[in-house]
């Protein structure tokens, strides 16, 4: 395991050396990795760091408000409202890799605007070790890796947590005194709810995914999953109040893991599963059924796309 206090000292020193007197930019996703990278960089260079949070419209319920609150102490924080632009860009895109690419490119466009404005010459990223493995092994492309640097002429990229695993990043987050919620927060993928929607991303499906994820996170808190969420995986027939519904199928996934490299589907009790099912189908008129995913990783991955 990483020695958090020593790591923090070395990482901030490294950032200070790399960035010198220049300005730097970081993309905040709200997840623990970029939060830790941002906190380290802010500690190192203060307001010469501009943290940028892009609201893609693919975020979890209440996420944007929480980001504003957690990073309130960084005066340079920028929140970009880009919901409409992301939905437009994703219109008609169904291939999972293409989806990630479209989202990555839109991110780049949003950052480019801010980067030019603040004249940042360094890019800080919260890339962690498994992101690099999955990208190198061609299992899934990771939006943290590549992309932005080709467009904006940065002097270089700073990746302070590049050799850490998620559990180690959490240790560092706790040591940094980052609010408990961020430190213990479930991993959330860069492309957001888009990878929890199989097929085209539409406003309707995003809403179903967001509300369902919220229900799952609330109901499964006591199981302390590494990650728990819901995904919209297709359509099926149902009957609600004597009416046929051709509605969405929502898959519930809850796994335990140390580092995300392998995962075990959690054993949940029937009552809990039924409560989740009832809340999701009860609150969302366009959901026809709820299923529970029992597959470990491998052979499945944790997220759907």
């Amino acid at each position: 395991m990483v020695d958090a206090p020593i790591f923090i000292e070395e990482a901030t020193e490294e950032i200070r050396e790399q960035v010198g007197d220049d300005r730097a930019l970081i993309a905040l996703s709200g997840g623990v990795d970029s939060s830790v990278a941002a906190a380290l960089a802010y500690e190192a260079i203060g307001d010469r760091l501009t943290p940028v949070y892009v609201d893609t419209g693919l975020m979890r319920k209440g996420e944007t408000a929480q980001i504003r609150e957690t990073f309130d102490y960084m005066e340079s924080l920028r929140v970009v409202e880009a919901q409409g632009r992301f939905l437009d860009a994703l219109s008609g895109v169904t291939d999972p890799e293409e989806k990630r690419k479209v989202i990555g490119e839109q991110f780049i466009r949003e950052f480019e605007t801010v980067a030019t404005e603040v004249e940042a010459s360094w890019l800080v990223q919260g890339t962690i070790y498994p992101d690099r493995i999955e990208s190198e092994g061609n299992i899934k492309s990771h939006h943290n890796v590549g992309g932005l640097p080709d467009v904006v002429d940065f002097d270089g990229i700073v990746e302070p947590v590049r050799d850490l695993y998620k559990d180690e990043v959490r240790d560092v987050a706790r040591e940094l005194g980052l609010d408990e919620l961020v430190a213990e927060r479930m991993p959330f993928p860069g492309p957001g709810l888009a990878v929890r929607i199989v097929g085209e991303v539409t406003e309707e499906k995003v809403e179903v995914a967001r509300e369902s994820c919220h229900v799952v996170e609330e109901e499964l808190e006591e199981y302390e999953p590494w990650q728990a969420f819901a995904a919209v995986i297709g359509k099926a027939t149902g009957v609600k109040g004597d009416n046929r519904v051709h509605g969405w199928v929502v898959a519930v996934r809850s796994v335990e893991s140390r580092d995300g490299m392998t995962a075990r589907a959690q054993e949940l009790d029937w009552q809990t599963l039924q409560r989740i099912q009832s809340r999701i189908t009860g609150q969302l008129p366009n959901v026809a059924r709820v299923v529970y995913d029992v597959t470990h990783k491998p052979p499945a991955t944790i997220e759907y796309e």
Partner: protein
């Protein structure tokens, strides 16, 4: 300090093998499999898993060295193939949770796990014939050769992944291997 290198066959878990060795307390490094053995100074070698038998670089050359070698997943399969054994596509892929029966409780690598151990696996192919000099040391319902050993030559293989968190006594396998290298 004992030094054990991991030869990377482009496996997803290669870095976890490095981490497991680091956690046992030995000096470790991950080296590209295109590196010839004569450029590597180590007391032991781990041949990592990987996706493809055609991308194993110089991995097989490490089998002729004079330090112990632990082959993991594809690392064990390439060991079998290079030394006269055989591999084939299994009837039933081994993924995630597998219960492994230890067949030789005297084996220096996996014997301490006897009688059985729960492991995490990820493979479509498997060893179907162990090379001369080797003993089959473990099996499971989904794979006939879960582990094999030739202690005289210091060559050991496991089909499962002792480096991942979900393998119950994975660390112990690395501890046993480190003891063989010291």
């Amino acid at each position: 300090m004992t030094r054990i290198v991991v030869v990377d066959n482009h496996g997803q878990f290669t870095h976890l093998e490095g981490r497991a060795l680091r956690d046992v307390g030995v000096d470790t490094d991950i080296v590209d499999n295109e590196t010839p053995p004569e450029e590597v100074d180590a007391d032991g070698v781990v041949l990592s898993g990987g996706p493809d038998m055609d991308r194993i670089g110089h991995s097989a050359d490490y089998l002729d060295g004079d330090v112990p070698v632990l082959g993991i997943c594809l690392g064990m399969q390439l060991m079998a193939k290079s030394l006269g054994g055989a591999t084939a596509s299994g009837d039933y892929g081994g993924y995630a949770d597998v219960t492994v029966d230890i067949l030789d409780d005297e084996d220096p690598l996996v014997g301490s796990l006897a009688p059985e151990t729960r492991v995490w696996a990820s493979h479509a192919d498997e060893v179907v014939e162990v090379p001369e000099g080797f003993t089959r040391t473990a099996k499971s319902d989904v794979c006939g050769v879960e582990a094999m050993s030739d202690p005289d030559r210091g060559l050991f293989g496991v089909q499962w992944h002792p480096e991942v968190a979900h393998t119950e006594r994975g660390q112990e396998v690395f501890e046993n291997f480190v003891a063989l290298c010291e």
